[in-house]
Subunit: 492 residues, 2 copies
Amino acid sequence: MSKNLTTRSEDYSKWYNELVVKADLAENSGVRGCMVIKPYGYAIWEKMQAELDRMFKETGHSNAYFPLFVPKSMFEAEEKNAEGFAKECAIVTHYRLKNDPDKPGKLMVDPNAKLEEELIVRPTSEAIIWSTYKNWVQSYRDLPLLINQWANVVRWEMRTRLFLRTAEFLWQEGHTAHATKAEAIKESETMMNVYADFAENFMAIPVIKGLKTETERFAGAEETYCIEALMQDGKALQAGTSHFLGQNFAKAFDVKFTSNEGKLDYVWGTSWGVSTRLMGALVMTHSDDKGLVLPPNLAPTQIVIVPIHKTDEQLAAITEEVNKLVAELKKMRISVKFDDRTNMSPGFKFNEYELKGVPIRLAIGPKDLENGTFEVARRDTLTKESVSKDGIASYLRDLLETIQNDLFAKALDYRNTHITEVNDFEEFKSVLENKGGFLSAHWDGTPETEEKIKELTKATIRCIALDRVEEAGKCVLTGNPSKGRVLFAKAY
Amino acid sequence: MSKNLTTRSEDYSKWYNELVVKADLAENSGVRGCMVIKPYGYAIWEKMQAELDRMFKETGHSNAYFPLFVPKSMFEAEEKNAEGFAKECAIVTHYRLKNDPDKPGKLMVDPNAKLEEELIVRPTSEAIIWSTYKNWVQSYRDLPLLINQWANVVRWEMRTRLFLRTAEFLWQEGHTAHATKAEAIKESETMMNVYADFAENFMAIPVIKGLKTETERFAGAEETYCIEALMQDGKALQAGTSHFLGQNFAKAFDVKFTSNEGKLDYVWGTSWGVSTRLMGALVMTHSDDKGLVLPPNLAPTQIVIVPIHKTDEQLAAITEEVNKLVAELKKMRISVKFDDRTNMSPGFKFNEYELKGVPIRLAIGPKDLENGTFEVARRDTLTKESVSKDGIASYLRDLLETIQNDLFAKALDYRNTHITEVNDFEEFKSVLENKGGFLSAHWDGTPETEEKIKELTKATIRCIALDRVEEAGKCVLTGNPSKGRVLFAKAY
């Protein structure tokens, strides 16, 4: 159990890999680069999905479902996209297996079942969706189209890591079409704000909202909005993106509409997505050397109760007391579990729930029964206290809220103390190596300088923060004039 | 709109195809055999998902996610499965596209990016899941595994129809592992009962629970439980299956456990699933020549309110009245929409909601304002009445329940009058041609007779009903002895 977990200071990367597997979140499968999301991990993902889905619907979006496959010619239709990440992908070329005549019991691809046109397993769905939108849009009355899809996508990544980078992953992708440029830009911003709200208030992960540079932008987008988070090892993680697509996809797929004034024009588009990568961000933001630390909003079990007893009579008395509390907590819609398994020791259970990040653990033994108390242990602070059973349900409800807020405050404090203003390149390199985090530095605005810094340091421009102050300065590498600071970091 | 819909008596099949598209449920995509599930259709599917998911969790199951791809060798591991439907499937052979040197702007499959082992896009996930379970199960303490997955699957169907048979479809697949045979059988039965409960009480579709014959059984199952529904054209539709897998998959993937008594044995398995095919069953059970008829439990919008007015003042007064009702209905968790679009006539709106199957339509005009009434129209019966606004919210709530029950009663009545006992083969053929529905007939129990009847009539044995009465008789084709009647029908 947790005693076997590599610590973060020993090897952060190993700690992460071990924790994801030991806490039953996910594991590698027999299929290269594809993961199995285990029930406990999936339960957390379901909580994310439910909340995001609610937020999408509240902002006027509907869900739909588009094909898994994209014919090769559709990729070609959007040239910029095809020049982007779309090339490393899974390609279906045949549609039948047959018995291998030379090897009894073995199967082979039937050479007579070759597809006329190869199908690409979607790495993202702009192409298939915009080719559909063409038939859905004639007039301004058909706009806006505000559609989201929950789906699996595949990108043939060579080096994979559970949740952070996998060949197949789960995500949602919103694809919207609008009559005006202003409306589409507003939509991209709205969805970036939805993501930021979700990350901060639901996942307790502070994020910086910003714009990507041209180099880091999604191929086919005119502007990419993003939210950037900071992990405990000082590396940044892009937690969500929202793209203003201009009329690029409308032009590639010939999606036109007749405006209110009878004018024919291309529609304006956006797309936005978050993925199971967020699970990686969750683990790396809050967890510690003993295991997962889950914000109460995302914890499948928010409170676990462990009985401590020697006799059956004691267990019976404890159970009676616990049942009352469980009923009260359930009424408050708090997810609570009474772990009365008798073949495991309390110590074993304590370790297990620590590893799995259950926010609050209650213990109750004969002494507590006498005193009318419970022992209340917080996972985030690893502190314990004895609490009277009178009014304990509302005490626990408030404590869950406190924990949620404290986790955010702690992560925010870490993040804020890891944004460092640097003014020359030596300082840049030194802070990057010794402290990590975001480096707030002047940049001359050219892709060449950006590329050079990446080559020299592995740091990339994570974003141009939306709230940055206009400030004249000199580029940290070239000394050329700059209009303001941007945020550099090494990133996942 | 609806006036263009082919009627059922004209051409049932055409009626279905047109209705699915015109009611905005789904449409064919640019990808062979793959459909686009449109927002309105997807909203209905989401309601099905939510209810099924709740029922699965209530019966102790958790969700997880397994890879989209299955390496070819895993298919071979389960021979029976490989001999079944698994051969017609999408096969990934390459992992990269590159620019075509001969055709500027075109892409080609990179011949240097051939996979060592082909990957099959899952047609079902037994192979990948059982190869994972191998590592999850050591002792009886690890059992039962009660896991469900919501996923897309692909089967390379040659002739496809929206929802009923598509190359890619959405489904859930439960895969469970147990320590004893009895427990696994009980699980298969429990899930068949969950499906039947869902079909009848949520979708208002009466079903017959039964067992498949050996011929119709899932390859790799020892027993297949099913629920069979009857469509309005007299053809049966398999609405869900639950398989008792015996130790077949455990043996194929070497999944063993140490029992309570220290004995090593293979685990016992089940799998069960329903798919977007249920959308087809929904349409074909309840809808009519004017469009969809949705049971209130599945209707994205349960009540729509249409204002009838000539002046802005009238609309303002109507809106005031409607807003009060809308607030009341929302409190009752009834999904209600006030359609105050001014660029469409009430008649246009009436047609639209008829086509889309909204269970209750309210209209309110100046006369209703005077009288303190609403006009209430039922979609299922196409009847109208004037109802006083006092207490109308609870009246409507009750009416939704009535409609739900009436739809089930109507479908049940149709189904029951379309189960015909036949005792010789001439009668069999005549009833099948002239009336359709289920034919309850004696069968000698041999696959040969089953096959012969299928050849001669296209009817298959839909199931051996669980509640059939033991009754000695003579096979309707061969005259050989039979132990009881089975249900034949033509089927989707």
